[in-house]
Symmetry: C2
Subunit: 247 residues, 2 copies
Amino acid sequence: MQQVVAPAFKTCSDCPIRHRAVCAKCDSQELELLEDIKYYRSFSAGQTVMWAGDHMDFVASVVSGVATLTQTMEDGRTQMVGLLLPSDFVGRPGRAEAAYTVTATSDLVMCCFRRKPFEQMISTTPHIAHRLLEMTLDELDAAREWMLVLGRKTAREKIASLLSIIARRDALLGLAAPGKELQVEIPLTREAMADYLGLTLETVSRQISALKRDGVIVLSGKRLVTIPDMDRLMTEAGDDSDGGYLV
Amino acid sequence: MQQVVAPAFKTCSDCPIRHRAVCAKCDSQELELLEDIKYYRSFSAGQTVMWAGDHMDFVASVVSGVATLTQTMEDGRTQMVGLLLPSDFVGRPGRAEAAYTVTATSDLVMCCFRRKPFEQMISTTPHIAHRLLEMTLDELDAAREWMLVLGRKTAREKIASLLSIIARRDALLGLAAPGKELQVEIPLTREAMADYLGLTLETVSRQISALKRDGVIVLSGKRLVTIPDMDRLMTEAGDDSDGGYLV
DNA sequence: ACTGTTCCTTGACACAGATCAAAAGTGGAG
DNA sequence: CTCCACTTTTGATCTGTGTCAAGGAACAGT
């Protein structure tokens, strides 16, 4: 691999393996190293990208759309273990077998990197290895935060937590400005929300209705949620707010 | 840092940052690189190693004993998000603030590495960076497996899942032989088990009694559990057994 | 041996959320 | 526009687990 390109990463040291289409800080040069091993794949809403146990010869990052990572028990109970939004990474270097089922919940474009050359690139390009470690640590933190939600929060708190996570994420991507009302689109059906939260879809629906009735959120259609008071939502989620939700 | 020692890692390429005291494959030479930045700390059962939010100037690996990673809500609800057994690693390179509270649940010895030099070593020693990435990915898989337990399993399945995870772990460390009866020590109080499983300690106690009554487990004292039939336990846990529990 | 402390077990009851069932929206295809 | 499939909402009832309460077992210190 041509290790020559390494300096180019300095222009965007914190996101070398994220696809430039989704990173405002990236210029068009920095992913040249990846150009020759990448290709795009599109999926339509509802399509399964890969099944748990499938042989997987690529890793990928989400360019646009939303996908979910789910685990399923033999009797059909399913738990979502991750939500893939634009710029998120999926796949495990060094392992050929997919651990989770990945499903597109909206029209989805992924940027795939052939696994073998990607692995090789990691070992020859410390910047990328380091960034990958950071992203994995972030995912681990997110997974552990979600363990608290799943294990200890009430249905209402779970819904509020999900909304606040999506809202925070939107804020991060610059889709929302601090100070003004937040409006977020929930990119999930009620059933998918239930699978994320460890609830049934009926309970999800009831709690959303309750939050609406209590003025915590305003619904425009089924998927579009306006949040008049983010601090209020954070309180409902059981988090100590601190206004730190724009981090 | 003296990068000269790198070849030494080849004798134990899969566990460079684990402490040699807990890795049968390691000889006494391979951790020389770490010698000058490490020190040991001991804790007694019940002692808190660090609080969430504390400034943390080291990362560490468990030499002996058991520790837990917990998250707590303002009203006192707590969720265990990780169990640290010998050879496990804790701490986040690149972040000074502890994300979780770490508590010793038995007498505990940790091998600490000062964070700054450790971080520097990561960037100059690809072997270690790579191994750290692998360990983090393993932890992420474990966290996600636990999300399924927390979100979708019944109390009885949760208990069985916890026992089978501890049993598998013991088997990995060579404390148990396949074919013969497994005997495992649960290194947790009923309350700690409850915090791990998202239950109350009363429910934990009841379900353990039920598993005992049904012959799935045999208790010797409060903490020592004999598992006459591992496949049976796996079925109770809701896992597809496959006999793959020795992996 | 006594006493206090901590951990564990068991019982009675309450309630959050699951389950079962039905109806009302919603949106795409023809 | 109408039809049909799918998603969502809402209601009635059931149940698994939480809550509250009491007592037992193990153990350390005096």
